[in-house]
Protein backbone atom coordinates (compact mmCIF):
# COMPACT_ATOMS: atom_id res chain seq x y z
CA UNK A 1 0.00 0.00 0.00
CA UNK A 2 1.23 3.52 -0.75
CA UNK A 3 2.42 5.80 2.00
CA UNK A 4 2.64 9.53 2.36
CA UNK A 5 5.31 11.55 4.12
CA UNK A 6 4.56 15.17 4.97
CA UNK A 7 7.57 17.41 5.53
CA UNK A 8 6.84 20.38 7.75
CA UNK A 9 9.12 23.35 8.37
CA UNK A 10 8.33 25.51 11.40
CA UNK A 11 9.73 28.42 13.36
CA UNK A 12 11.33 26.00 15.83
CA UNK A 13 12.24 22.88 13.92
CA UNK A 14 11.18 20.35 11.30
CA UNK A 15 8.56 17.64 11.69
CA UNK A 16 7.93 14.58 9.56
CA UNK A 17 4.40 13.18 9.50
CA UNK A 18 3.80 9.76 7.98
CA UNK A 19 0.72 7.71 7.23
CA UNK A 20 -0.46 4.90 5.03
CA UNK A 21 -2.59 5.52 1.97
CA UNK A 22 -5.74 5.90 4.03
CA UNK A 23 -4.25 8.99 5.64
CA UNK A 24 -6.24 8.53 8.84
CA UNK A 25 -3.56 7.70 11.42
CA UNK A 26 -0.34 9.65 11.53
CA UNK A 27 3.06 9.22 13.13
CA UNK A 28 4.82 12.44 14.07
CA UNK A 29 8.60 12.62 14.13
CA UNK A 30 10.41 15.68 15.44
CA UNK A 31 11.35 18.27 16.21
CA UNK A 32 14.39 17.86 14.00
CA UNK A 33 16.86 20.76 14.42
CA UNK A 34 14.95 21.93 17.49
CA UNK A 35 15.04 25.64 18.06
CA UNK A 36 16.07 26.55 14.51
CA UNK A 37 13.83 28.07 11.86
CA UNK A 38 13.21 25.51 9.14
CA UNK A 39 12.08 27.44 6.11
CA UNK A 40 11.67 24.47 3.82
CA UNK A 41 12.12 20.71 3.59
CA UNK A 42 11.75 18.92 0.28
CA UNK A 43 12.46 15.47 -1.11
CA UNK A 44 14.04 14.51 -4.40
CA UNK A 45 11.56 13.18 -6.98
CA UNK A 46 14.38 10.97 -8.27
CA UNK A 47 15.20 9.48 -4.86
CA UNK A 48 12.46 10.07 -2.28
CA UNK A 49 14.76 9.23 0.61
CA UNK A 50 17.02 12.14 -0.31
CA UNK A 51 15.69 15.16 1.57
CA UNK A 52 17.04 18.68 1.75
CA UNK A 53 16.26 21.15 4.53
CA UNK A 54 16.93 24.84 4.97
CA UNK A 55 17.83 25.48 8.61
CA UNK A 56 18.54 29.02 9.78
CA UNK A 57 18.80 31.20 12.82
CA UNK A 58 19.22 34.85 13.64
CA UNK A 59 22.23 33.87 15.72
CA UNK A 60 24.01 31.31 13.59
CA UNK A 61 22.94 32.03 10.02
CA UNK A 62 22.21 29.42 7.39
CA UNK A 63 22.73 25.67 7.47
CA UNK A 64 21.72 23.22 4.74
CA UNK A 65 20.85 19.72 5.91
CA UNK A 66 20.64 16.59 3.84
CA UNK A 67 19.16 13.18 4.61
CA UNK A 68 19.68 9.95 2.68
CA UNK A 69 17.14 7.91 4.63
CA UNK A 70 13.92 9.85 4.46
CA UNK A 71 14.68 12.07 7.43
CA UNK A 72 15.80 9.51 10.01
CA UNK A 73 19.33 10.93 10.02
CA UNK A 74 20.74 14.16 8.69
CA UNK A 75 24.13 15.65 7.83
CA UNK A 76 24.99 19.29 7.26
CA UNK A 77 26.00 20.30 3.75
CA UNK A 78 27.58 23.47 2.43
CA UNK A 79 26.21 26.83 3.47
CA UNK A 80 28.30 29.26 1.47
CA UNK A 81 25.99 31.31 -0.74
CA UNK A 82 28.32 33.89 -2.26
CA UNK A 83 26.89 36.13 -4.94
CA UNK A 84 28.66 35.94 -8.26
CA UNK A 85 30.98 38.91 -8.82
CA UNK A 86 30.34 42.31 -7.27
CA UNK A 87 26.75 42.11 -6.05
CA UNK A 88 25.79 45.77 -6.58
CA UNK A 89 22.53 47.14 -5.21
CA UNK A 90 18.78 46.67 -5.33
CA UNK A 91 16.22 49.13 -3.99
CA UNK A 92 15.47 49.35 -0.29
CA UNK A 93 11.93 49.92 1.01
CA UNK A 94 12.36 53.68 0.63
CA UNK A 95 13.70 53.42 -2.90
CA UNK A 96 17.33 54.06 -1.99
CA UNK A 97 20.06 51.71 -3.26
CA UNK A 98 20.84 48.86 -0.88
CA UNK A 99 23.61 46.27 -1.24
CA UNK A 100 22.66 42.66 -1.90
CA UNK A 101 23.21 40.65 1.25
CA UNK A 102 22.62 36.94 1.75
CA UNK A 103 20.15 36.35 4.57
CA UNK A 104 18.58 32.89 4.25
CA UNK A 105 17.37 30.12 1.97
CA UNK A 106 13.60 30.24 1.54
CA UNK A 107 13.06 27.36 -0.84
CA UNK A 108 14.92 24.23 -1.96
CA UNK A 109 13.89 22.55 -5.21
CA UNK A 110 15.54 19.21 -5.98
CA UNK A 111 16.06 18.28 -9.63
CA UNK A 112 13.36 16.11 -11.17
CA UNK A 113 15.95 13.59 -12.37
CA UNK A 114 19.16 13.84 -10.32
CA UNK A 115 19.15 13.59 -6.52
CA UNK A 116 22.51 15.37 -6.33
CA UNK A 117 21.23 18.49 -8.07
CA UNK A 118 19.19 20.98 -6.08
CA UNK A 119 18.24 24.64 -6.51
CA UNK A 120 18.00 27.19 -3.70
CA UNK A 121 15.96 30.37 -3.72
CA UNK A 122 17.46 32.87 -1.32
CA UNK A 123 16.95 36.27 0.29
CA UNK A 124 18.19 38.76 -0.97
CA UNK A 125 16.69 37.32 -4.11
CA UNK A 126 18.93 35.07 -6.15
CA UNK A 127 18.93 31.52 -7.46
CA UNK A 128 21.69 29.07 -6.57
CA UNK A 129 22.37 25.54 -7.78
CA UNK A 130 24.30 22.66 -6.30
CA UNK A 131 25.31 19.64 -8.39
CA UNK A 132 26.95 17.76 -5.51
CA UNK A 133 24.15 17.13 -3.09
CA UNK A 134 24.17 20.55 -1.46
CA UNK A 135 27.87 20.77 -0.64
CA UNK A 136 28.82 23.58 -3.01
CA UNK A 137 26.56 26.28 -4.39
CA UNK A 138 26.91 28.45 -7.48
CA UNK A 139 24.71 31.39 -8.29
CA UNK A 140 22.81 31.40 -11.58
CA UNK A 141 23.63 35.06 -11.77
CA UNK A 142 21.93 35.75 -15.07
CA UNK A 143 18.74 36.19 -13.05
CA UNK A 144 20.02 38.84 -10.67
CA UNK A 145 22.02 40.28 -13.55
CA UNK A 146 18.83 40.80 -15.51
CA UNK A 147 18.69 44.51 -16.29
CA UNK A 148 15.84 45.08 -13.87
CA UNK A 149 17.75 43.78 -10.82
CA UNK A 150 18.67 47.21 -9.43
CA UNK A 151 14.93 48.07 -9.39
CA UNK A 152 13.82 45.09 -7.31
CA UNK A 153 12.45 45.91 -3.86
CA UNK A 154 11.72 43.70 -0.85
CA UNK A 155 8.20 42.76 0.13
CA UNK A 156 7.14 42.89 3.78
CA UNK A 157 8.74 39.49 4.39
CA UNK A 158 12.01 40.43 2.72
CA UNK A 159 13.26 40.21 -0.84
CA UNK A 160 12.94 36.49 -1.20
CA UNK A 161 13.06 34.10 -4.11
CA UNK A 162 10.37 31.72 -2.89
CA UNK A 163 9.10 29.77 -5.90
CA UNK A 164 11.13 27.49 -8.18
CA UNK A 165 9.27 25.38 -10.75
CA UNK A 166 11.16 22.96 -12.99
CA UNK A 167 9.41 22.18 -16.25
CA UNK A 168 9.07 18.38 -16.55
CA UNK A 169 8.81 18.63 -20.34
CA UNK A 170 11.89 20.79 -20.86
CA UNK A 171 14.89 20.52 -18.51
CA UNK A 172 16.14 23.93 -19.61
CA UNK A 173 12.97 25.78 -18.63
CA UNK A 174 12.64 27.06 -15.07
CA UNK A 175 10.11 29.47 -13.58
CA UNK A 176 10.88 31.45 -10.44
CA UNK A 177 9.10 34.15 -8.46
CA UNK A 178 10.38 36.90 -6.18
CA UNK A 179 8.64 39.16 -3.68
CA UNK A 180 8.42 41.91 -4.77
CA UNK A 181 9.96 41.71 -8.23
CA UNK A 182 7.65 39.28 -9.97
CA UNK A 183 7.96 36.12 -12.04
CA UNK A 184 10.81 35.19 -14.36
CA UNK A 185 11.51 32.37 -16.82
CA UNK A 186 14.64 30.88 -18.32
CA UNK A 187 14.74 28.72 -21.45
CA UNK A 188 18.45 27.92 -21.22
CA UNK A 189 18.78 26.28 -17.79
CA UNK A 190 19.37 29.54 -15.97
CA UNK A 191 21.86 31.43 -18.11
CA UNK A 192 19.42 34.11 -19.27
CA UNK A 193 16.07 35.16 -17.87
CA UNK A 194 13.12 37.28 -18.85
CA UNK A 195 10.41 38.76 -16.65
CA UNK A 196 6.97 37.23 -17.29
CA UNK A 197 4.63 39.71 -15.67
CA UNK A 198 2.55 40.99 -18.56
CA UNK A 199 -1.06 41.20 -17.45
CA UNK A 200 -0.27 41.64 -13.76
CA UNK A 201 -1.65 44.82 -12.26
CA UNK A 202 -0.49 46.13 -8.86
CA UNK A 203 -2.13 49.40 -7.86
CA UNK A 204 0.31 49.99 -5.02
CA UNK A 205 3.37 50.51 -7.22
CA UNK A 206 4.10 53.67 -9.21
CA UNK A 207 3.41 51.99 -12.57
CA UNK A 208 0.71 49.36 -11.92
CA UNK A 209 1.63 47.41 -15.05
CA UNK A 210 5.42 47.71 -14.76
CA UNK A 211 7.66 44.99 -16.15
CA UNK A 212 8.89 44.21 -12.61
CA UNK A 213 7.89 45.18 -9.08
CA UNK A 214 4.88 42.90 -8.53
CA UNK A 215 4.54 41.04 -5.26
CA UNK A 216 4.00 37.49 -6.46
CA UNK A 217 3.28 35.20 -3.52
CA UNK A 218 3.26 31.80 -5.18
CA UNK A 219 3.02 30.05 -8.56
CA UNK A 220 1.78 26.49 -9.20
CA UNK A 221 1.81 24.19 -12.21
CA UNK A 222 0.38 20.77 -13.07
CA UNK A 223 3.00 18.40 -14.45
CA UNK A 224 0.83 17.44 -17.42
CA UNK A 225 0.43 21.05 -18.60
CA UNK A 226 3.66 22.92 -17.99
CA UNK A 227 2.56 25.96 -20.00
CA UNK A 228 -0.41 26.57 -17.70
CA UNK A 229 0.53 28.47 -14.55
CA UNK A 230 -1.56 29.64 -11.63
CA UNK A 231 -0.45 32.53 -9.45
CA UNK A 232 -1.48 33.92 -6.08
CA UNK A 233 -0.32 37.50 -6.23
CA UNK A 234 -0.39 39.82 -3.21
CA UNK A 235 -3.83 40.67 -4.50
CA UNK A 236 -5.37 38.77 -7.43
CA UNK A 237 -5.37 35.13 -8.41
CA UNK A 238 -3.97 34.90 -11.92
CA UNK A 239 -3.67 32.33 -14.70
CA UNK A 240 -1.37 32.01 -17.68
CA UNK A 241 -1.90 29.63 -20.60
CA UNK A 242 1.32 30.53 -22.39
CA UNK A 243 4.08 29.77 -19.88
CA UNK A 244 3.81 33.19 -18.30
CA UNK A 245 3.94 35.31 -21.44
CA UNK A 246 0.58 36.77 -20.44
CA UNK A 247 -1.67 36.56 -17.41
CA UNK A 248 -5.37 37.08 -16.78
CA UNK A 249 -7.16 37.43 -13.48
CA UNK A 250 -9.29 34.49 -12.30
CA UNK A 251 -10.18 35.71 -8.80
CA UNK A 252 -13.88 35.47 -9.73
CA UNK A 253 -16.14 35.07 -6.70
CA UNK A 254 -13.44 34.71 -4.04
CA UNK A 255 -14.35 36.65 -0.88
CA UNK A 256 -10.92 38.29 -1.04
CA UNK A 257 -8.28 37.77 -3.68
CA UNK A 258 -5.39 38.20 -1.21
CA UNK A 259 -3.58 35.11 -0.01
CA UNK A 260 -0.30 33.27 -0.10
CA UNK A 261 -0.71 29.64 -1.17
CA UNK A 262 -1.99 28.19 -4.43
CA UNK A 263 -1.79 24.61 -5.65
CA UNK A 264 -3.18 22.26 -8.28
CA UNK A 265 -5.08 18.96 -7.89
CA UNK A 266 -2.89 15.93 -8.67
CA UNK A 267 -5.18 14.47 -11.34
CA UNK A 268 -7.40 17.35 -12.45
CA UNK A 269 -5.27 20.13 -13.93
CA UNK A 270 -8.17 22.59 -13.90
CA UNK A 271 -8.82 22.11 -10.18
CA UNK A 272 -6.93 24.58 -8.02
CA UNK A 273 -6.87 25.58 -4.36
CA UNK A 274 -6.24 28.85 -2.50
CA UNK A 275 -6.74 30.08 1.06
CA UNK A 276 -8.11 33.65 1.03
CA UNK A 277 -6.64 35.87 3.73
CA UNK A 278 -7.77 39.31 4.91
CA UNK A 279 -5.30 42.02 4.14
CA UNK A 280 -3.43 44.27 4.20
CA UNK A 281 -2.90 44.83 7.88
CA UNK A 282 -4.48 41.74 9.39
CA UNK A 283 -3.41 38.61 7.54
CA UNK A 284 -5.94 36.22 9.03
CA UNK A 285 -9.00 34.48 7.58
CA UNK A 286 -12.09 36.56 6.87
CA UNK A 287 -14.64 36.50 9.72
CA UNK A 288 -12.41 34.14 11.72
CA UNK A 289 -13.42 31.26 9.41
CA UNK A 290 -10.65 29.12 7.94
CA UNK A 291 -11.77 28.23 4.43
CA UNK A 292 -9.96 26.65 1.53
CA UNK A 293 -11.42 27.66 -1.82
CA UNK A 294 -11.45 25.23 -4.72
CA UNK A 295 -12.08 25.99 -8.36
CA UNK A 296 -12.79 23.11 -10.73
CA UNK A 297 -12.76 25.44 -13.71
CA UNK A 298 -9.21 26.74 -13.55
CA UNK A 299 -10.33 29.84 -11.70
CA UNK A 300 -13.19 32.35 -11.65
CA UNK A 301 -15.75 29.97 -10.10
CA UNK A 302 -14.81 29.05 -6.54
CA UNK A 303 -16.42 26.99 -3.79
CA UNK A 304 -15.63 27.23 -0.10
CA UNK A 305 -14.36 24.06 1.56
CA UNK A 306 -15.15 24.17 5.27
CA UNK A 307 -15.93 20.67 6.53
CA UNK A 308 -13.58 19.97 9.42
CA UNK A 309 -11.99 23.42 9.42
CA UNK A 310 -12.62 25.91 12.24
CA UNK A 311 -15.48 28.25 11.34
CA UNK A 312 -15.22 30.62 14.24
CA UNK A 313 -12.48 32.44 16.17
CA UNK A 314 -9.72 31.33 13.83
CA UNK A 315 -7.04 33.95 13.26
CA UNK A 316 -4.10 32.09 11.78
CA UNK A 317 -2.29 32.67 8.51
CA UNK A 318 -1.23 30.17 5.85
CA UNK A 319 2.16 31.13 4.45
CA UNK A 320 3.24 30.83 0.83
CA UNK A 321 5.10 27.51 0.98
CA UNK A 322 2.65 25.85 3.35
CA UNK A 323 0.35 23.89 1.00
CA UNK A 324 1.06 20.62 -0.78
CA UNK A 325 -0.82 17.89 -2.64
CA UNK A 326 -0.11 14.15 -2.78
CA UNK A 327 -0.72 12.01 -5.85
CA UNK A 328 -2.94 9.30 -4.40
CA UNK A 329 -6.45 8.76 -5.69
CA UNK A 330 -8.28 10.73 -4.27
CA UNK A 331 -5.49 13.20 -3.90
CA UNK A 332 -4.60 14.50 -0.47
CA UNK A 333 -4.36 18.22 0.19
CA UNK A 334 -2.30 19.54 3.11
CA UNK A 335 -1.67 22.95 4.58
CA UNK A 336 -0.05 24.35 7.70
CA UNK A 337 -0.89 27.45 9.70
CA UNK A 338 0.95 30.00 11.76
CA UNK A 339 -1.01 28.58 14.69
CA UNK A 340 0.86 25.29 14.38
CA UNK A 341 -1.88 23.15 12.86
CA UNK A 342 -1.32 20.95 9.83
CA UNK A 343 -4.64 20.11 8.19
CA UNK A 344 -5.08 17.22 5.77
CA UNK A 345 -7.85 16.27 3.40
CA UNK A 346 -7.83 12.72 1.99
CA UNK A 347 -10.67 13.51 -0.42
CA UNK A 348 -9.33 16.36 -2.53
CA UNK A 349 -10.59 19.00 -0.14
CA UNK A 350 -14.13 17.83 0.57
CA UNK A 351 -13.36 17.27 4.26
CA UNK A 352 -10.47 18.12 6.56
CA UNK A 353 -8.91 17.03 9.83
CA UNK A 354 -5.84 18.21 11.68
CA UNK A 355 -2.86 15.86 11.66
CA UNK A 356 -1.26 17.90 14.43
CA UNK A 357 -2.58 20.95 16.27
CA UNK A 358 0.17 22.46 18.34
CA UNK A 359 3.40 22.73 16.38
CA UNK A 360 5.37 25.98 16.22
CA UNK A 361 4.22 28.34 13.48
CA UNK A 362 4.32 26.45 10.19
CA UNK A 363 6.49 27.94 7.44
CA UNK A 364 6.31 25.21 4.82
CA UNK A 365 4.57 21.94 3.97
CA UNK A 366 5.61 19.42 1.34
CA UNK A 367 4.33 15.90 0.76
CA UNK A 368 5.83 12.81 -0.79
CA UNK A 369 3.76 9.93 -2.14
CA UNK A 370 5.77 6.77 -1.56
CA UNK A 371 5.33 3.24 -2.94
Amino acid sequence: MSKVRVLVGTRKGAFILTSDGKREKWDVSGPHFAGWEIFHVKGSPADPNRLYASQCSGWFGQVIQRSNDGGKTWAPGGNKFAYDGVPGTHQWYDGTPHPWEFKRVWHLEPSLTDPETVYAGIEDAALFRSADGGQNWQELSGLRGHGSGPKWQPGAGGMCLHTIILDPSDPKRIFIAISAAGAFRTEDAGTTWRPINQGLRSETIPDPTAEVGHCVHRIAMHRSRPRVLFMQKHWDVMRSDDAGDSWKEVSGNLPTDFGFVIDVHAHEPETIYVVPIKSDGEHFPLEGKLRVYRSRTGGNEWEALTKGLPQQDCYVNVLRDAMAIDSLDKCGVYFGTTGGQVYASADAGDSWAPIVRDLPAVLSVEVQTLP
Binding site: G35, W36, S57, G58, W59, F60, G61, Q62, V63, P76, N79, K80, F81, A82, F102
Partner: protein, 98 residues
Protein backbone atom coordinates in the same frame (compact mmCIF):
# COMPACT_ATOMS: atom_id res chain seq x y z
CA UNK B 1 45.73 22.91 24.08
CA UNK B 2 43.13 25.64 23.57
CA UNK B 3 39.67 25.12 25.04
CA UNK B 4 36.57 26.51 23.34
CA UNK B 5 33.03 26.46 24.71
CA UNK B 6 30.35 26.52 22.02
CA UNK B 7 26.75 27.61 22.46
CA UNK B 8 24.34 24.66 22.73
CA UNK B 9 22.94 24.90 19.18
CA UNK B 10 26.43 24.76 17.69
CA UNK B 11 27.35 21.85 19.92
CA UNK B 12 24.35 20.00 18.51
CA UNK B 13 25.24 20.96 14.94
CA UNK B 14 28.83 19.79 15.30
CA UNK B 15 27.92 16.81 17.52
CA UNK B 16 30.30 18.02 20.23
CA UNK B 17 29.87 17.16 23.90
CA UNK B 18 31.53 19.45 26.40
CA UNK B 19 34.44 21.72 25.59
CA UNK B 20 36.32 21.57 22.30
CA UNK B 21 40.07 21.15 22.63
CA UNK B 22 42.21 22.45 19.76
CA UNK B 23 45.87 22.53 18.93
CA UNK B 24 46.57 26.09 17.79
CA UNK B 25 49.90 27.56 16.67
CA UNK B 26 51.03 30.71 18.50
CA UNK B 27 50.23 33.52 18.47
CA UNK B 28 46.80 32.44 19.65
CA UNK B 29 44.19 34.86 18.32
CA UNK B 30 40.46 34.82 17.68
CA UNK B 31 41.23 34.19 14.01
CA UNK B 32 43.64 31.33 14.59
CA UNK B 33 41.29 29.65 17.06
CA UNK B 34 38.29 29.98 14.72
CA UNK B 35 40.36 28.76 11.77
CA UNK B 36 41.34 25.66 13.76
CA UNK B 37 37.76 25.18 14.99
CA UNK B 38 36.32 25.37 11.47
CA UNK B 39 39.00 23.06 10.11
CA UNK B 40 38.02 20.43 12.68
CA UNK B 41 34.28 21.04 12.31
CA UNK B 42 33.55 22.30 8.76
CA UNK B 43 29.82 22.48 9.48
CA UNK B 44 30.55 25.48 11.75
CA UNK B 45 31.80 27.56 8.83
CA UNK B 46 29.49 30.51 8.37
CA UNK B 47 27.74 30.02 11.70
CA UNK B 48 30.15 32.02 13.92
CA UNK B 49 31.55 34.44 11.35
CA UNK B 50 30.24 35.37 7.95
CA UNK B 51 31.55 33.26 5.07
CA UNK B 52 32.40 36.22 2.89
CA UNK B 53 33.31 39.07 5.27
CA UNK B 54 34.69 36.85 8.08
CA UNK B 55 32.98 39.24 10.49
CA UNK B 56 31.61 37.88 13.79
CA UNK B 57 27.89 37.26 13.47
CA UNK B 58 26.06 40.09 15.25
CA UNK B 59 24.30 37.98 17.91
CA UNK B 60 27.44 36.11 18.99
CA UNK B 61 30.02 37.32 21.50
CA UNK B 62 33.48 36.14 22.50
CA UNK B 63 34.36 36.03 26.20
CA UNK B 64 37.44 34.87 28.09
CA UNK B 65 38.76 35.47 31.59
CA UNK B 66 35.52 37.33 32.41
CA UNK B 67 36.20 39.89 29.68
CA UNK B 68 34.19 40.63 26.56
CA UNK B 69 36.65 40.31 23.69
CA UNK B 70 34.05 40.66 20.96
CA UNK B 71 35.32 43.99 19.72
CA UNK B 72 39.02 43.15 19.87
CA UNK B 73 40.85 42.74 16.59
CA UNK B 74 40.57 39.14 15.33
CA UNK B 75 44.38 39.19 15.10
CA UNK B 76 45.00 40.45 18.66
CA UNK B 77 46.59 37.84 20.94
CA UNK B 78 44.13 36.21 23.30
CA UNK B 79 44.91 36.30 27.05
CA UNK B 80 47.76 34.05 28.19
CA UNK B 81 45.33 32.00 30.25
CA UNK B 82 43.46 31.10 27.04
CA UNK B 83 46.66 30.41 25.13
CA UNK B 84 47.83 28.10 27.89
CA UNK B 85 44.51 26.29 28.12
CA UNK B 86 43.87 27.40 31.71
CA UNK B 87 40.76 29.33 30.65
CA UNK B 88 38.39 28.65 27.74
CA UNK B 89 37.38 30.95 24.95
CA UNK B 90 33.61 31.16 25.32
CA UNK B 91 31.46 31.71 22.23
CA UNK B 92 28.15 32.93 23.53
CA UNK B 93 24.82 33.52 21.85
CA UNK B 94 23.24 36.83 22.85
CA UNK B 95 20.10 36.59 24.93
CA UNK B 96 17.59 38.13 22.56
CA UNK B 97 14.03 37.64 21.50
CA UNK B 98 11.04 36.98 23.62
Amino acid sequence: MIRVILPPHLRTLSQVRGDVELEVQRPVTQRSVLDALEARYPMLRGTIRDHVTQQRRPFLRFFACEEDLSHESPDAPLPDAVASGAEPLVILGAIAGG
